[in-house]
Symmetry: C2
Subunit: 410 residues, 2 copies
C-alpha cells in the first residue's frame, strides 16, 4: 500500500489553531491498515450548525445516505470518520453498520443520532464491521482534545501520500474568526464530487441554511473543479461545521454583508484543500490548470475544460512534457460544446502555440519544451465565441497511476 | 514509434478476395514514416455508390469536412488515404491541402472532385503538404490492382501494431456477393466514432441512401460500441462503397428483404473490424466485453456500459487481474443513469461476484482470480430495473498505454 510521496507534496504543513467548540481524538481500530490511525471522532459543542455536499453517485454509500438524512436538521454534535473501508455496496449490512456506529457515537457523546455525521473511505464492497468501534469510540470520547489538527488529517488518509490541511483566519466585526479544514483523496477524483472527504470547522456563528448556501456556491470552483481520473466516488462527502463560539453576532441571512466576507475565506480553504488533492493525484508529477475562455457561457467553458482535463491523451502528453496542442484540440472537439476550430487559440503558460485554428506563426518549440518541464503548468484555450470562462485543475497521467491502481484491492 | 505487437493480435490474417469494380495501389510518400507505405489510392468503377459516418467532433479535420460535403452526392470514383499526418487543426492551409489532393486524384482517375473521398490520420496540428502527392497519385493510378488487400490495410496504419482486415461472402438471389473491409486505430478510440478509419467495399448493387441507412444502423453496435481511452478523434471516418458489379438486381429500398440480409453481413464486417481495433488498443493485454442488462432502456444501458468501459479505475483493475467489483459499482453510480444500488448484480464471466447490492454469498475468490487471468473477459452488470441492454467493448489500461502516449509527437 505504501507508495512514494508525491513530488508535488507541500514542503511544510500549517499549524492550525484550536477552534473553540470542537475537540477530537483519533485511534487505531484496525479496520484495514496496521500501525496507523484509522478512526476520527470529532465532538462539537451544543448549538453547532452543519452543512454538507455529497456525491451525486446513484450508488452512494451507506454513510452518505446517513448524512443526507441528517443534513436537513442542520445541527451537529459528532462526526465519525473511518478509513480503510468505504462501507459502500454492502446492502442491508451497510445500513445496519452505519446505524450501529451512529448509536455508539451518540452514546459516547451524549447526544441524539440525528446529530451524528458519518463518513467512510476505502475499499468498496466489503462489509464494515461496526462492532470494531465498540469500546473504541467510548475511549476516544474520554480523551478529546483541541489539537494538533495533523492528527485528524492523517487518520482519514487512504492512498494519500501526504496529509491535507489548511486554515484561514479572518476578522469579522473586529473579532478573529477561524476556519480549519482537512481533506483526503488522491484517486477516483472527479467533480460531483471528487473521491474525497473533507471536513471544515469554524467558530463563526452562522445559520445552517446560510452555511449550506455558501458551501454549495464555493464547492463549484474548488472541489468540483478538480479531476484526477474522471472517476466519481460513491462516498464523496464535504461537511462544514460552525460551532458559533466566536464573540460576534451570528450571520442569519445571505443578505448579511459579512456572509460574503466569510464565504470568501471559506472558499480559500476549500480551494487550497482541493488543489492539495490534485497534487496528491495518484502518480501525479505535474499539476495542470486548464483555463477555458471565450466560450458561449461559463457552463460550456467548464465542460470543455473538464473534457481537456479528463482526456488520457492530453494527460499522458503532459506527463511526457510534450506540448501536444493537437490533443487539446481533440479534447475541445469531443466536449460537444460550441467551438469553431478556426477561431481556437491555445497557450501553454504565456506561450502561444496555436492561433486561429493553426500553429501560431510565433510558435517557439524550444521555449515551449522548456516550459513543459515545469511542475506547475497553465493551459489556456481561447474559443473567441463569447464571454464564458472556467478553470479545471488536474494532474498528469503517469506509470505511477497504473502501478497504484493495478494492484489496490489485493 | 515501433511498439511491441499487441498480445491480442490475430494469429493469422484472412486473404480477402478481389472485388469487381475496385482497384487500388499504395505508395511511400514520406509524409512522416520512413520505409513504409503511407498513401492509399482506391479507384472505383463508374456507378459506385457511397455512404459514410464521420466524427461528431466539433473540431473535425479538413478531410472530414470534405467527405461531409461529398457524401450527399452518393457517388464515388476515388479514395485517397494518408497516414502520418491528420491534416487536422491546420486552418485555411488544411482546406487548401484537401482541395489540392482531391484535384490531383480526380485528374489521375479522370473524374470529378465531387466523387473523390479523402481521409488523413496521424499527428494533429501539423500542416500536410499536399504537393508530396503530386506525381505520386499519377504513378499510383498507372499501377492499380485488385489485391492483395493486406496492402491497403498496412498503408493506413499509425500506432496500430497489426493490420486490420475482414471480409464476408454472402449469397443473394443465388449470386455470391462480397464485402471487404479494412480499418486502422488503436488510440484516441471512443464512440462517435473511434479514432479510427475504416473503408468497406462491396460489389452489391445498392442505392446510396439504403447503404447509408444500413451503415448508420450497424455502426451503433460495432464501431460506436468500442472504446479504448474515451478520447474521440477529429478525423474518424467510416466509408462504404458499393461497386454494383455483382449480377443481381439492385437494392433500391430498405423494404427490400435483401437489405436485411446484406445489412447483417455488413454488420459482421464492421463488428469484426471494430473488435480488432479494441484488441490493438494502445497497451492492451486484455479485451473486455461490458454487458449491461436490466436497465430502464437500451440507451441507458449503453451509457452505463460506456461509463464502466471508460473508467480508468475499472480498466487498471482489469490490467491487475483484480475482480474489483467495487469499482464497477462506482462506474455504474457515476453514469448518472437510473440504478438501484441494492438491486445490482455483477458477474465476471459466469461467476457471480455481487448480488442484490452486496458481495454474493457464493462468491469464490479463487475461481474469480483464475478467471481474471484470461485474455478475453466478460463483465455483466444486471440492474433489475427494466429490459434495456447494451454491450460496449474495451481493453485494459496498462503501463503500455502510458509509454506509447507519453512520447508520441516528439
Amino acid at each position: 500500500m505504501a507508495h512514494p510521496v508525491s513530488p508535488l507534496a507541500p514542503k511544510s504543513y500549517p499549524e492550525l489553531p484550536a477552534i473553540d467548540g470542537v475537540r477530537f481524538a483519533t485511534a487505531e481500530a484496525g479496520i484495514k491498515y496496521k500501525n496507523r490511525t484509522d478512526v476520527l471522532l470529532m465532538a462539537f459543542d451544543a448549538g453547532t450548525t452543519a452543512a454538507g455536499v455529497v456525491t451525486k453517485s446513484k450508488c452512494s454509500s451507506a454513510a452518505v445516505d446517513w448524512c443526507k438524512a441528517n443534513l436537513p436538521g442542520g445541527l451537529a454534535r459528532g462526526l465519525v470518520v473511518n478509513s480503510g473501508n468505504a462501507n459502500a455496496f454492502t446492502g442491508a449490512k451497510g445500513a445496519q453498520s452505519v446505524a450501529l456506529t451512529a448509536e455508539l457515537a451518540a452514546k459516547a457523546l451524549g447526544c441524539s443520532t440525528a446529530e451524528i455525521f458519518l463518513a467512510s473511505t476505502g475499499v468498496i464492497g466489503e462489509p464494515l464491521d461496526a462492532n470494531k468501534f465498540e469500546g473504541v469510540l467510548d475511549t476516544m470520547a474520554t480523551r478529546l482534545g483541541d489539537g494538533p489538527w495533523m492528527d485528524p488529517a492523517k487518520a482519514i488518509m487512504t492512498t494519500d501520500t501526504f496529509p491535507k490541511l489548511y486554515g484561514a483566519i479572518l476578522e469579522i466585526d473586529g473579532v478573529e474568526v477561524k476556519i480549519n479544514g482537512i481533506a483526503k483523496g488522491s484517486g477516483m477524483i472527479a467533480p460531483d464530487m471528487a473521491t474525497m472527504l473533507s471536513f471544515v470547522v469554524t467558530d463563526m456563528p452562522i445559520a445552517a441554511p446560510v452555511l449550506q448556501a455558501l458551501l454549495s456556491r464555493h464547492v463549484a470552483t474548488s472541489f468540483n473543479a478538480v479531476t484526477v481520473d474522471s472517476d466519481t466516488s460513491t462516498s464523496d462527502t464535504l461537511l462544514a461545521f460552525a460551532t458559533g463560539k466566536a464573540a460576534v453576532e451570528p450571520i442569519e441571512s445571505l443578505d448579511d454583508p459579512r456572509a460574503e466576507t466569510f464565504g470568501e475565506a471559506l472558499r480559500d480553504v476549500l480551494f487550497d484543500l482541493a488543489i492539495q488533492v490534485v497534487r496528491d493525484g495518484e502518480g501525479a508529477t505535474k499539476q495542470v490548470s486548464v483555463h477555458v475562455e471565450g466560450a458561449v457561457d461559463d457552463a460550456s467553458a467548464f465542460r470543455i475544460a473538464k473534457s481537456i482535463a479528463d482526456s488520457p491523451l492530453v494527460k499522458t502528453a503532459i506527463a511526457g512534457e510534450d506540448a501536444n496542442w493537437g490533443r487539446v484540440v481533440m479534447a475541445v472537439g469531443k466536449a460537444g460544446e460550441p467551438a469553431d476550430r478556426d477561431k481556437l487559440s491555445i497557450r501553454f503558460g504565456d506561450l502561444l502555440v496555436a492561433k486561429n485554428g493553426e500553429r501560431a506563426p510565433i510558435y517557439d518549440e524550444a521555449a515551449t519544451s522548456a516550459y513543459m518541464k515545469g511542475e506547475d503548468l497553465e493551459l489556456t484555450v481561447s474559443l473567441a465565441l463569447g464571454e464564458g470562462r472556467a478553470t479545471v485543475y488536474t494532474c498528469d497521467l503517469t506509470h505511477g497511476y497504473i502501478t497504484i491502481n493495478g494492484d489496490y484491492r489485493s
